[in-house]
Amino acid sequence: MSSKEELLKRLSDGVVDMEEDDVAEAAKEYLEAGYPAFDGIMEGLVDGMNRASQLYEEEEYFVTDVLLCSDAMYVGLDILRPYLPEVSSDDKITGVIGVVEGDTHDIGKNLVRIMLETAGFHMIDLGRDVPLAKFVETAKEENADFVCMSTLMTTTMGGMETVIRLLEEEGLRDKVKVMIGGGPISQKYADKIGADGYSQNAVEAVKLAKRLLNVA
């Protein structure tokens, strides 16, 4: 039988190497050996995904690769998650994420969601072409700590400002951080509409979220 360290390494390597079947096999062996699911996720799967994002940042990996790494990670998560002790989601920092109304380009948003989930945030993904009021409603219902919006198109970027105004009207603006991103978006635009931050890619988005929400 493999040691815990060996299995964790197989989980992590399987994610980095985009090998779903290896991850699934290692996850099952890991559970059969009686090791805690939480460590398998954090020190195996998430470790692998962090290594993948490091490679992405170094331009060794591209979106093609990161998508397949995340597929492998989710295969492992599906196996290990049922064995986690019950944790109330209140303990986690919650974010609402989506592509603003009128736009259907969602790869960037999906990558940001994957990376934020990997970093331990509880993410509520509203998908693409999301009605602007929906961001605000969801943030209120879920008692969210932050809202992430993206768009690739100049025609729809104005919606982000509307969401910020709606958050103000609802009296939520002080307790909800707003992060934005996407092709035509810039720090200058974020400043202009009063968003709390802008990030250029998914790895930066995680750093930004941690900074805005004071997470180590």
């Binding site: 985009m18 779903e20 331009e59 990996y61 591209f62 979106v63 093609t64 690769d65 998508l67 397949l68 995340s70 597929d71 989710y74 009128g102 736009d103 259907t104 969602d106 790869i107 999906n110 998908g127 198109m153 100049t154 025609t155 729809t156 035509p184 810039s186 200058k188």
Partner: protein
Amino acid sequence: MSPLERREAVREGRPYDRIPCVPFMGEFKCALTGIRVWDFWHDPQKMADTEIAAFNRYGYDRIVIGPNTRGITEALGGRFVYPEKGLPYADRPLLWEGATGDTGASAKACGYGRLNEMEPVDAKKNDRIRTFARAAEILAAEAGGIVPVEISIGGPFTIASNLRGVELLLRDCRKCPGEVHRLMRLITESQKSCIDMAAEYGFGIAMADPVANPALIGPKMYERFVYPYTRELTDYALLKTKERVSLHMCGKTYSIWKYLCQYELNELSLDNIIDLGRAVSELGDRIPIAGNVDPVEVVMNGSREEIERAVESCIETGRNAKRGFVLATGCDVPESTNPVKIDWMMEAVRKRGNVR
């Protein structure tokens, strides 16, 4: 000088009045002329009228018409949604079978079964392409002697992403590369048929392949899945139309420049996030360069002075390109832009783009 005279003068090394200028107008032309986006994509007379109206107002140096990525995707059976407000967007991809989940996160099986029944587009027979051919016919008669006209055939990898879905296509490049190549072959043959159509009207070819971008696929994948097909298309276009292709590439493309400069290009037009000076020094002796005024921060949001400064700065840098320079925007001008901004841009080129 008319744009056509200017182009001839540039090519023959004779004196000419100013640097050529091609702002990318996209659906902004619809906002300008009040024509519905759906009509602009489906009614040949309205397509041609829109092009002529925009050209008459601004006097820029090239008219570009479809089918573009969108028209060829539709000609192959793909679907787009044309909202009353805003830009058209790709509907559920055609080659979806075998895939599950909206984001495709758990899609494993390759779903290319339908590809077996698909035929390349025949531009002579395909109804969707005939619409663009009729617009080309009108423009050949109305504008042919005045301004260069190009037919855009879009980009093969972007068409593939419309037919398959971007995320699935990106996964397929690793998981089932053979199927991606089959799809790319079908698309390339379809685009070649559209090149034949352009040749009939004496028009050149424009291409843009936004999905074949290092933000999505790395240089290795570009070399395998995009370069061979784009090479084939640019060679074929030169052979058939006797004109080189105008290629626009979005995004941070530095890592694929080594491929881009190998194509037979009339110009490589670059995103506004690209350092134009670097393009001029690294690519300028291989291919003509076009670029790269920021369409959002400068054209849409900028003042008259900011537009003039940006135009001047691009021209000062660009005019050092050994194989030639065209002033362009770094991407499409947003449709909500005030039309007077393009007047200002053209004015700045006339003022600042004189040839020394």
